[in-house]
């Protein structure tokens, strides 16, 4: 591109948030679509659970969609992530099909884990999602290992490890960050701080005010973003990916957000007020914020928004039907997948 025309483009968008300078309107409309898909997927899963169609438990990330989408936005298809028990959004953001996710929740053979994992171990290895994890901080060292593979095999892959605020007080977090920094590995640590580790607030559990401050102990950049503003998250992720790809090492991003629902299905919400929850839902909902901004900037109109909502509703309904119609594993296959090769 000629220098003059490039400068002109930069100037005309210079005051716009990062994403409007970096991504096309089509890409941004697709982000809104995916954010709705995450929201409606979880609402659909919740409804199926309430109706007794899904057993076990689940941890909903409703209210955290901008964080999942923003972090995954600059990732390449073969970049990898490790996720958490609150990982449905990450899975969809990295490219998973909601039909196969529903099938997993229904325990069916067509599910991503063939009915063996459920919500808490949802994965999509083909799309680079190495799996949600039932152990707080369990995926963090694994992400560092994946980044070590990337470096040793010279694949150029970047690895993102998602975890919650609770994980920052686990030993695995500290051991993993230290090793990643010592070895300058292409990994990004993303703490989605939704304010509570189950019922215990970060104020009561964590000695530092901001979890990003932990980065200083491991000589890596620590970045705080408003996790409910897609552009802020995407910009921080973009810079961290560039740094990782350039061989400059890891970054810790703290994405401050909020979960509208309880920790899991057993939560009675006794540790936070109704007013607090309602305030986040009414005034800081990430989808509302992004949708409003897109409309204000003229990237989408009411008709376009409605089209997205309709398309998502159909995907969700189709996905649930796919799950219901899929076969249940045969009992005889109980011990499949324990080993690759029986000794």
């Amino acid at each position: 591109m000629a220098g003059a025309s490039k400068a002109a483009v930069v100037d005309s968008r210079a005051n716009l948030p990062f994403i409007y300078r970096q991504y096309s309107p089509e890409q941004l409309r697709e982000v809104l679509h995916k954010m709705y898909l995450i929201r409606r997927f979880e609402e659909g899963a919740e409804e199926c659970y309430t109706r007794g169609l899904i057993h076990g438990t689940m941890h909903l990330s409703i209210g955290q969609e901008a964080s999942a989408m923003g972090i995954c936005m600059p990732l390449a298809a073969d970049d990898q992530i490790t996720s958490t028990h609150r990982g449905h959004g990450h899975c969809i953001a990295k490219g998973a099909e909601v039909s196969r996710m529903f099938a997993e929740f229904f325990g069916k053979t067509t599910g991503y884990c063939k009915g063996r994992g459920g919500s808490m171990h949802i994965a999509d290895v083909a799309k680079g999602n190495l799996g949600a994890n039932g152990i707080v901080a369990g995926g963090i060292p694994i992400a560092v290992g994946a980044a070590l593979s990337s470096k040793m095999m010279k694949t150029g892959k970047v690895v993102v490890s998602f975890f919650g605020d609770g994980a920052n007080n686990e030993g695995a977090f500290h051991e993993a960050l230290n090793m990643a920094a010592v070895w300058k590995l292409p990994v990004i640590f993303v703490c989605e701080n939704n304010g509570y580790g189950m019922s215990t607030s970060t104020a009561r559990s964590t000695a530092v005010k901001n979890i990003a401050e932990r980065a200083a102990a491991y000589s890596m950049p620590g970045v705080i973003v408003n996790g409910n503003i897609f552009s802020e998250v995407a910009e921080a992720s973009f810079k961290a990916v560039e740094r990782a790809r350039a061989g400059e090492g890891p970054t810790l991003i703290e994405s401050k957000t909020y979960r509208h629902r309880g920790h899991s299905k057993s939560d009675r919400n006794r540790y936070r007020t109704k007013e607090e929850i309602e305030d986040w839902m009414a005034n800081r909902d990430p989808i509302t914020l992004f949708e409003t901004e897109l409309r204000d900037f003229g990237f989408i109109d009411d008709q376009g928004i409605q089209a997205i909502r309709d398309a998502v509703a159909k995907e969700i309904a189709d996905g649930i039907e796919f799950a219901k119609a899929s076969p249940t594993p045969e009992i005889a296959t109980l011990q499949n997948y324990v080993y690759t090769e029986q000794a």
Binding site: Y112, G117, I135, G138, I142, M153, A172, N178, M179, Y339
Partner: protein, 332 residues
């Protein structure tokens, strides 16, 4: 010297296996605490760092949990790590990654991944290292579906089983008794494997089966040599793998001898001896038994520092001789 009679120590055999594995497959690399210039706490990695460099012989921080997790993550994404714990006791620091992640990842993901990681655990008592550096925790890991757990008892098997472990697509945990590291024995040159999941009859006999693991194999053989002078003919089965156990070899041996003595160093209760006893009791070999099954295992105590106490904590050759003699003579 005749190549067929070449002898190496158990530690040298492991080191040679790791070198061969790295020569054969560029995905293989070593991780662990002080395995580089230091050569490993027991000099098993020795000078490998000089031959393969710090990129393939990686000193980790003192971070067993994180290190094990890094090994798991590297294995899942295409590498073939061999992770050395400095002492098997430190598995307690990494149980999360071993038990919840390495063992279950393939299963939880419906077979979409494999976890070809090898973890090596210097184990056992006899070095005066007291309670936190002398344990035998193999049965803990043997209880976990998804793991394979092996205990080579000779230099030959240490090399061949490590090479089998590196080639295995699943997580393999290797428990190496520290007192075996200096044991010398015949080790063939070049690449060969000893299969995981197959026991080995070290000595054939007709009066009693001793099923032993790790260092207890040699002690059982020493006891058998003494009892041979008394006209007692002992069969020694080296279990070699505790998950999965080679049931058939044990059952067939007991059917032949009609008596079973289990000898292992780990704490006696809820251990390998219980498992071997139960598998025999549940099998057709039960009808062949002429005497109660006897277990000789470690005392119900942490490993003490005092050398006399330490020795008394685990089965010794005279204990095996006495138990075997009593069994065969019908004292029990």
């Amino acid at each position: 010297m005749d190549a067929a009679l070449r002898e190496l120590s158990y530690a040298q055999a492991i080191q040679e296996a790791m070198a061969i594995a790295m020569d054969m497959d560029e995905r293989v690399f070593l991780m662990g605490e002080d395995i580089g210039v230091y050569g490993g706490a027991f000099q098993v990695t020795g000078d490998l760092v000089e031959r393969y460099g710090t990129e393939r012989v990686i000193d980790t921080p003192i971070s067993e949990l994180g290190g094990a997790g890094v090994a798991v993550g590297a294995a899942v994404t295409g590498m073939r790590p061999i992770f050395e714990f400095q002492f098997s006791d430190f598995a307690t620091l990494a149980m999360e990654q071993i038990v919840n992640q390495a063992a279950k990842m393939r299963f939880m993901l419906g077979g979409e991944v494999s976890v070809p990681v090898v973890m090596r655990f210097p184990a056992g008592s006899g070095t005066g290292a007291a309670a936190q550096h002398s344990q035998s925790l193999e049965a803990w890991l043997g209880h976990v579906p998804g793991l394979k757990v092996i205990q080579p008892a000779t230099p030959h098997d240490a090399k061949g089983m490590l090479l089998a472990a590196v080639a295995d697509p699943d997580p393999v945990m290797i428990f190496e008794h520290k007192l075996l590291y200096k044991m010398k024995g015949h080790v063939p040159e070049g690449h060969y494997t000893v299969p995981i999941g197959k026991a080995e009859i070290r000595r054939e006999g007709r009066d009693l089966t001793i099923v032993a693991t790790s260092i207890m194999v040699q002690k059982a053989l020493d006891a058998a040599a003494v009892l041979e002078g008394e006209g007692i003919d002992i069969e020694v089965v080296d279990l070699r793998t505790i998950r999965p156990i080679d049931r058939q070899t044990v059952i067939d041996s007991v059917k032949k001898t009609s008596r079973l003595l289990c000898v292992y160093e780990a704490v006696k209760t809820l251990g390998i001896g219980a498992e071997v006893s139960a598998l025999v009791a549940e099998s057709e070999a039960f009808d062949y038994l002429d005497a109660p099954i006897v277990r000789l295992g470690g005392a119900e105590t942490p490993i003490p520092y005092n050398p006399d106490l330490e020795k008394a904590t685990v089965p010794q050759v005279p204990d095996i001789i006495a138990a075997a003699r009593d069994l065969v003579k019908g004292v029990r």
